[in-house]
């Protein structure tokens, strides 16, 4: 008799540790997810260099560059040598993405400009609908 009484609770699975583990895993994922994104942005230039080259043959990415004075330029539009404000960059990028949603956008920042300028630009691109922003290791505009 006593055996039966002891075995009876064993028939039910104790889900408490299971929920514990699930929730802990969930928390780990939630914390690491943004970290992974940030990490990718930093690692991008070298890791994606080859990929971009491959895609370049069919779909050249849109290049948004920042010169030493912090002015923005784009390789599309009326005149690529004319500085643009963030708003017109957003409009142009959004137009391209409406027609070709898979277009890549890369940012080429001058080495002397501040981190903040790049972030502002990337946020602007993100609001325009760009999913992945690549970073160029050297801006083509830094020739001078």
């Amino acid at each position: 008799m006593s055996r039966r009484i002891k075995r009876k609770p064993m028939a039910e699975i104790n889900v408490v540790p299971y929920i514990d583990v699930t929730l802990v895993l969930l928390i780990i994922f939630m914390i690491t997810a943004p970290l992974i994104q940030q990490g990718v942005e930093v690692d991008l230039p070298q890791a994606e260099a080859k990929e971009l080259l491959q895609e370049q043959e069919q779909e050249p990415p849109i290049i948004v560059s920042i010169d030493a004075e912090g002015l923005y330029y784009m390789d599309i539009g009326e005149n690529p040598d004319e500085p643009l404000d963030l708003e017109s960059i957003k409009i142009k990028v959004a137009a391209v993405l409406r027609q070709k949603p898979k277009t890549n956008v890369v940012v080429g920042g001058d080495s002397r400009i501040g981190y903040g300028k790049v972030i502002t630009l990337m946020v602007a691109l993100q609001t325009a609908g760009v999913e992945n922003v690549g970073l160029m290791t050297q801006s083509p505009d830094t020739g001078q």
Binding site: T22, L23, L26, I27, M30
Partner: protein, 183 residues
């Protein structure tokens, strides 16, 4: 601060997990409902179509097209089956009564306005309605009505009595109207 954040994550996590269950079961509910609503709409639409047809034609013409055995000549409209120019048996007394009257009154004459429903091609329907008119005219001529007293006008689907797109309207429109000159 951090512990508060962690607690929030847990809370959100639980919410997400439980949320999955509810949306899953909840989803079938609204879809069923939508399906029902859709069906309701459909039947509603077709009903209004039929209603429209009735108000247009049947009401005005019902009295005229129903065969009255006591007064066969009171019936002036002969109806036909789809893509057929055969005069149905029930209308033979009608044609006979008109023929009798025409034989008795050689100074009277009729125009047989022949029509078709809107289905199929317009020109074919003109020819089809003429066959209907000819069927009635031939029956009258068999009963010694002079050919001069009978004229067939075929209008095909151009002059419908009822404008609906359903059998109820089409039945009204597949017809030969017997019209006396000077009436």
């Amino acid at each position: 601060m951090k512990s508060v954040k962690a607690a929030l994550f847990i809370f959100i996590g639980v919410f997400v997990l439980s949320g999955c269950g509810t949306t899953g079961s909840g989803e079938s509910g609204p879809t069923d409902g939508e399906g029902g609503a859709g069906n309701g709409y459909d039947s509603g639409a077709s009903t209004t179509g039929i209603d429209g047809g009735e108000t247009y034609g049947a009401g005005a013409y019902a009295g005229n097209s129903v065969f009255d055995p006591a007064n066969p000549r009171g019936t002036r409209v002969i109806k036909f089956a789809f893509d057929s120019s055969e005069v149905a048996a029930e209308y033979l007394p009608v044609v006979a009564a008109h023929a009798e009257y025409l034989v008795a009154n050689p100074d009277k004459s009729v125009v047989l306005e022949a029509h078709a429903d809107e289905r199929g091609s317009r020109e074919y329907n003109i020819a089809l309605s003429e066959h209907r008119g000819n069927s009635v005219a031939d029956l009258m001529k068999f009963q010694s009505v002079s050919p001069n007293q009978v004229q067939v006008m075929s209008y095909g689907e151009e002059k419908p009595l009822s404008y609906g797109h359903d059998e109820l309207s089409w039945e009204q429109n597949r017809r030969v109207e017997i019209i006396y000159f000077g009436e």
